[in-house]
């Protein structure tokens, strides 16, 4: 597979001191911080060592921590995640990389049947403190098998925690929380955000899993987004402001734990909800979120619940086609404008 990155290789150790850090540098920095403080943290995955990851998200780890803590694997997704599970059950905190989230299907048995169930089916005898990191999402023209937003796959399985950060600082803070978690975490890194820049995270930065962030306060409508849809929602909110529609924007950050408290509290102010999801409408995470709102927050609402989500088709290759499938600022603005006049 060709190198699919465009960014220059970064030096994670020095990145923290920089005034800005890219999302991709934040991944390596987040892992490195935990590896420095906890010798049981080890990494494994395809091309993560000498190559620094096909997305350059593990640059510098092999050099700093050596081959006993950073392990290149064969193209064997079942072996990668299965071995991570066995290691997690016996005292380690593995961080396994599945290169593209589409490839989670190759080891889905572990995500669906093994990792989330072993604690429960043994009556709590074993603990599985592992992180499965994976590059998720579309918008880069990688076609049907390298572009999917698969966060909703994991969301169908009780027993997995699901993190999907939108900013470099959150990558670091949520990586810390994920690696320190005694529960298994699927950590979605968005391909479309790797080049995004943001302020670096302060030392010791930890973002507790299951805490959504209200990024923009507003009175008229609540937009709830995840990962690459967060900047889309924020851009839509700016455009809507010019039309005197005051949108609140929530970055959900995690799907499990799902911060319904923050969403319901927001709806108490705005009375209107639009989810902004990259995953398909069919089975997307917003369906569960709106069902909770319909069930527990119906009295807060002044308008129907709306979802902007991926079209229910495979991801096409051409830009013009892919933009038709994935939510865009235009689509969000149109949906909110329509809802505001309801």
């Amino acid at each position: 597979m060709a190198d699919m990155t465009t960014a220059t290789p970064g030096a994670p150790a020095g990145a923290a001191a920089a005034r800005v850090i890219t999302y991709r540098e934040a991944v390596a920095e987040g892992i490195a911080r935990e590896m420095r403080r906890d010798p049981t943290v080890v990494c494994l995955g395809e091309d993560i060592g000498a190559a620094g990851g096909v997305f350059k998200t593990t640059v510098g780890l092999l050099k700093e921590f050596g081959p006993e803590r950073v392990w290149d694997t064969p193209i064997s997704e079942q072996a990668i995640v299965g071995a991570a599970m066995g290691a997690a059950m016996t005292g380690m905190r593995p961080v396994a990389e599945i290169m593209f989230s589409d490839f989670l299907a190759c080891c889905w048995d572990y995500l669906a049947n093994e990792i989330p169930k072993v604690r429960y089916m043994t009556g709590g005898q074993v603990t599985v403190p592992l992180v499965v990191r994976t590059a998720n999402g579309g918008g880069l023209g990688f076609g049907a098998q390298h572009s999917q937003a698969t966060e909703n796959w994991a969301f169908t399985v009780p027993g997995l925690k699901i993190a999907a950060p939108a900013t470099p600082a959150d990558v670091i803070g949520m990586m810390a929380a994920a690696i320190r978690s005694d529960d298994p975490v699927v950590f979605y890194e968005h391909k479309g955000l790797f080049a995004a820049k943001g302020p670096p995270a302060p030392p010791g930065h930890v973002v507790e899993l299951g805490r959504a962030a209200v990024l923009r306060e507003g009175a008229d409508v609540t937009l709830v987004a995840l990962a690459s849809m967060v900047p889309v929602a924020l851009a839509a909110a700016e455009r809507l402001a010019a039309e005197d529609i005051d949108a609140e924007v929530i970055d959900l950050r995690c799907l499990v734990p799902l911060d319904t408290t923050t969403v319901l509290a927001s709806l108490a102010r705005t009375s209107r909800l639009v989810t902004v999801e990259e995953n398909p409408y069919q089975g997307g995470w917003g369906a569960t979120l709106v069902s909770v709102v319909a069930d527990e927050g119906f009295g807060l609402l002044d308008a129907p619940l709306r979802r902007v989500a991926g079209e229910c088709v495979p991801l096409p290759f051409a830009d013009a086609l892919e933009e038709r499938v994935i939510p865009t600022v235009d689509k969000v603005v149109a949906k909110v404008r329509d809802l505001a006049t309801y």
Partner: protein, 325 residues
Amino acid sequence: MKADELLAAYEQMALVRRTERAAHDLFMSGLVKGTTHLAAGHEAIAVGASAALRPDDYVFATYRGHHHALARGATPEECLAELMSRATGLCGAKGGSMHLTKAASGMLGSYAIVGAHLPMAAGAAWSARLRGTDQIAVAFFGDGATNIGAFHEALNLAAVWKLPVLFVCENNLYMEYTPIADVTAVPRPAADRAAAYGVEGQVVDGNDVVLVREAVARLADRARAGYGPGLLEAETYRHFGHSRADPATYRPAEEVERWLKHDPLDLARGRLRALGVPAEAVDEADARVAEAVAAAVEAARNAPAPDPREALTDVWADGGAAWRT
């Protein structure tokens, strides 16, 4: 094996056999629901391997795993209570027959997706190496597992990383209902594949507890010394069908008869006789086993059902099941 070790192994095998018979009877009387995959006939593999392992080694088994739980120190009462949906079961009745686990003694689970636990065992071995212990991990699996991807991925990774893990195939000639030979390209489903991964593939009479112990001990020593994984194909035979639903009528009568004459308990008795162990000592072992299993059945029968509230515990490490705020 010395006479006292062999007698202890015999008693453990008899305990497995008796417990499996009890499980069968309890199922027939409606006290065990779901399904069971009985390991009667496979006793020498679990007991022989266990005799060659250290208490801190790791064992991963399949849904046909009662013998491994018992060989690693689970009591018949804990196992039967689990099968009978009792709160006192090994897994608090959350697992059932297919998921017997005794983590405290290194028996890290019974897995019911074929082949899934082979990479896990490789991972546990990797962990032992990273932590600087000389523990090893052992995955026991059926012949059917040799045709699934996880088997091949695990063998390759274990070989490339030189992991201290043993892969022990319990070849009972049938993958569920179908002869393994009908669906496998090579005669020895596990051992013949080992060469593809630079691993020595060894075959052993899986019904002879002495030979199994010797073979596992040799491979365990190699693995502990850093020479990488071992693969053992242990030939054996099921005394029951694949699962409770299966009367195993597809097996030729003469084949069944031949294997029943090559019974692990009979073989061990013969070896005990040859070592000069008096028949009374063997009878006493049988009597102890009969008494222990009868008491286990009684205790499991009388144990309480799980509290329904337990259904919503143990998902997360904090003991809870909350998926949202």
